[in-house]
Symmetry: C4
Subunit: 233 residues, 4 copies
C-alpha cells in the first residue's frame, strides 16, 4: 500500500517535466495515505533524470521523516499544512510553470474567461495576499500553506483545485497525486490562454455565470455527463 | 466502407495531439458517411495514448448509438446539428487549441490580416454571440451547433471552414475528417499570427480586399492553380 | 552538377520543417545554376513527408519547365524575377513563419534592435508596400518579385538578405539554397525578438548605428573575423 | 586535469542547444583552470552537431592560444576580461537566448518579480549602458567585458550571476561551466516570465524585499537549506 503510493508519487513527479511544467528541479508532488497518515514527497533538489522511486521521502503529518535517505522537498511544510486542513486532498503539486508563475508575479487572480477554465475551476483561480515580513521570517513554508487556506476561506478546495501564491507560483491539488498533476497542467494552460485573451481584449470581463456553472457541473456536479461512467474526469 | 470511415476518424483524432492542438482529451473529430447516414465520432474522455480505432462510436444523424462500447463525445450534438444543416460537410473538429480559444475567450472574430488566412478563409473567422442562460440550461450542445449556424447565416461553410464559439473555443470542418483537421491547424496558426500582428500594430485593419479575394480563389475558386491538378489543396 | 543542385534544393526544402518554419506545405526553396541558367524549385503542394529529391522541378529563367512531373511552386514567378534582377543570388526561400508573417501582416519593417539582427542584416528588414488591385489581378506572383525589388531599391540584397511582403510573409535569399534557409531562420528569430522587445519597451528606437555597423562588418565586411578562415559565416 | 576541463567545457557547450538557448552557433561556454591559468573555450562558428571535445581551444589569460586547431570564439576577450577581474568565476556563458536578448534590446534590466528570480539572483538582472562609438571601434569584445564589470560595480558576481548587455544579449557565469549554463537557463526563463508578468500588469513593481532576501538566502546564504547537504544548488 505504502509502496504503491511511493510509486504513484514518483510517477506523478516524473510527469511534471514530461508536461513541460518544470525547469531543473523546480517542482514537487506529494501524496497521502489517509489511513496510515503517511505522506510521500519528492526529495529536495534531486534532478528528475536521476530520480528513482526509492528516493521518495516518507513523513508523518507532523513532518517527521520516517523513511528515505534524502531531505524532503523544501516546500514540505506547505504540503503538510494543506493535508492537515483538507481531508479531501490526496495529492498536491507545486511548480514554477511559466504562465501560472507570471500571474503570481503580476499579483493577479487568473480570471475565469472560458469553458476550458470552467471545466476544472468553479471560479477565478485566486492569488494570495503577500506574506508579511514576519511571516517570511518565521515558519515561511508553513505560512505559505496558511495563506493558501486563508485565501480559499470557505471554498471547497476540489472546486478550486489550484491557486497562485503572490510573487511565487502555483500550487494545485486533487484526490490523488495524478489528479493534482492533471490540475497543474490545466492551471498552466488556462493561465496562458487568459494572458493572450487579455492581450487581445484588455477590457475583457469574466465568462457568463451560466456558462461557467454549466461546464463545471457538466464535469463535476452530481449530474456530470462528461467522460465514461467509471472515470473521474 | 464504414470500417474505412472509422479508421479515418481514428487517425484524424490521433492527428490532433500530433499537431499540438489538444491537452489531455480536449478535442474530438467526427466523420460522416452520407450514403448510409452514419456518423463516427471519438468516445468521450478516453486518453489519446490508449485510444484504438475500435473505440470510435457510430451513431445515426438523430444521435442514436449504433455501435461502440463507449459514450460518444459530449460535443456530439453540436456535430450532428452541423451535419444535418450542411450536406457539404464530411468531417468536423472541435479543440481547445491555445490561440483560437484565446480569441473565443476575448469574444472577438479573428480578423483576416494576411494571405495565410486568405488561403483558407474567405473572410474573418467569426465569433458567435454568447448563448443565453435558457440555451445553456436547455439542449446546450445542440444550441452550440445552432448558434454556429446562426452566425454563418448565408455563408458557405466551406468558404468559412471554422469559427470560434464565444467563451468556448474553435470548431472547424471540411469535406472529410482530414480536411477538418487541416483547417483546425490553420485556424490555430492564423489565430496566433493575428494576436502577434495586433500586438505589434494595435491600429491594424484588415487585409486588402483584392488580396484576400486573390488568395482564396487561387486555392478554392474554379480557376485554382495552387497544388497539383489531382489534389484538393 | 544539376543533380547536385537538385539534391541541395531538396535538402534545403527539408530543412524548413526541421527548423519549425513551415506548417503543412507553406514554404519553398529554390536554387540556381548560373552557368547553365537552370533553376530548381520545390513542387507545389507536395507534403514534405513524402517529398523526394526527384520531385524537384527544373526550369529555365523564363519559367519553362524542363524537367519534373509536378507543377512548380505557385511562387515560382517571384523567385525567377529575383534571380533575373540579382545575379549574386544563388538561393531563395519563402515561408509563412509565424513571427515574420506577423510583422508582414502588421505592415511594419522589422526594426534593427540588436546585434543578432546586425550580424546578418545591415539595416531594418523592410516591409514592401501593398500591391495594387491591378497588380494583384495581373501577374500577381511576378509583381510580388517586382515590389521586393522596388523596396530594396539600391540596396545590395546580400546586405539585406530578407524582406517581408505586406500582408503576406517573408522572403529571404543568399549565395546558396543553404544560406537562404539560414537567413530565413534568422529572420524568424529576430522577428520574434523584436516583437517581445517592443512589447517590453514600446518607446524603443533602433540599435546604435556604430554597433549595427560593427556587427555587420565583423561577419560580412572585408575584415570579417567571425568564424574560421575557410567558412562563409 | 586540463583534459577534464576540456570535456566539461565541451559538454557545457553541448547543453546550450539541448536547453533551447541557441540558434545555429550563437552561443559559447568557457571554463578556467585557476591553478594553471588556462582557459578553455568553444571555437568560433563551428556547428554544434559537428563539434568534438578536441575542437575546444585552450588559451592563457592574456589570450594566447596554446592548443587547438580552430580560432577561439569571437567573444573570447569578453570572457578573459571577466576571468581576470573575478577570481571566483569558474565558467562563463554567452547566448542570444530569445527572451533575455529581448530585454537587452529593450534596454531594460530584468526586474526581480518573484521567487524564481530570487532563488538565483539577489537583485534585478542589470542591463549595461551602451558602448560608445570609440569603445566599439576599439577593443570591442574587451570593452564588452569592461562594461559588464562597470555595471556590476561592487556586486559579488556570484550574487548577480548574469547580466544583459545593451542591444546585445545575456552573459552568465558561475563557479563552473555547468553552473554558468544553469544560470543561463534560469536567466532565459525569468526573462520570459518577467515579460509576461509585465504584459499582464504593466504597473508591476518589484518583489517584496523580504521575500527576495528570504529566497536568495534559502539557497545561497550561510544557512541555506534547499537541496541536499552535499550539493551546490
Amino acid at each position: 500500500m505504502l509502496q504503491q503510493l511511493i510509486q504513484q508519487v514518483y510517477e506523478a513527479n516524473m510527469a511534471l517535466p514530461a508536461h513541460g511544467l518544470v525547469t531543473y528541479t523546480w517542482g514537487n508532488v506529494s501524496g497521502i495515505d489517509r489511513q496510515q497518515g503517511l505522506v510521500v514527497i519528492k526529495p529536495s533538489g534531486v534532478p528528475y533524470q536521476q530520480m528513482q522511486a526509492s528516493d521518495m521521502v516518507v513523513l508523518d503529518l507532523m513532518g517527521n521523516v520516517l523513511q528515505g535517505r534524502f531531505r524532503p522537498s523544501s516546500d514540505t511544510a506547505t504540503h503538510l499544512e494543506l493535508y492537515r486542513r483538507y481531508p479531501q486532498l490526496g495529492g498536491i503539486v507545486h511548480t514554477h510553470s511559466t504562465h501560472a508563475t507570471a500571474w503570481a508575479q503580476a499579483g493577479r487572480a487568473i480570471p475565469a474567461l472560458g469553458t476550458t477554465h470552467a471545466d476544472y475551476f468553479a471560479a477565478d483561480i485566486p492569488c494570495t495576499r503577500g506574506l508579511t515580513a514576519a511571516e517570511v521570517a518565521g515558519e515561511y513554508e508553513r505560512e505559505t500553506g496558511r495563506v493558501i487556506i486563508e485565501t480559499l476561506a470557505a471554498e471547497d478546495p476540489l472546486h478550486t483545485p489550484g491557486i497562485v501564491v503572490y510573487q511565487h507560483g502555483p500550487f494545485s491539488w486533487g484526490r490523488s497525486p495524478d489528479e493534482a498533476v492533471h490540475n497543474a497542467v490545466v492551471l498552466e494552460e488556462v493561465a496562458k490562454m487568459a494572458w493572450i485573451s487579455c492581450s487581445i481584449n484588455p477590457a475583457l470581463r469574466q465568462i457568463d455565470a451560466h456558462l461557467l456553472e454549466k461546464h463545471f457541473s457538466r464535469k463535476h456536479g452530481p449530474n456530470a455527463y462528461y467522460g465514461q461512467k467509471d472515470t473521474a474526469s
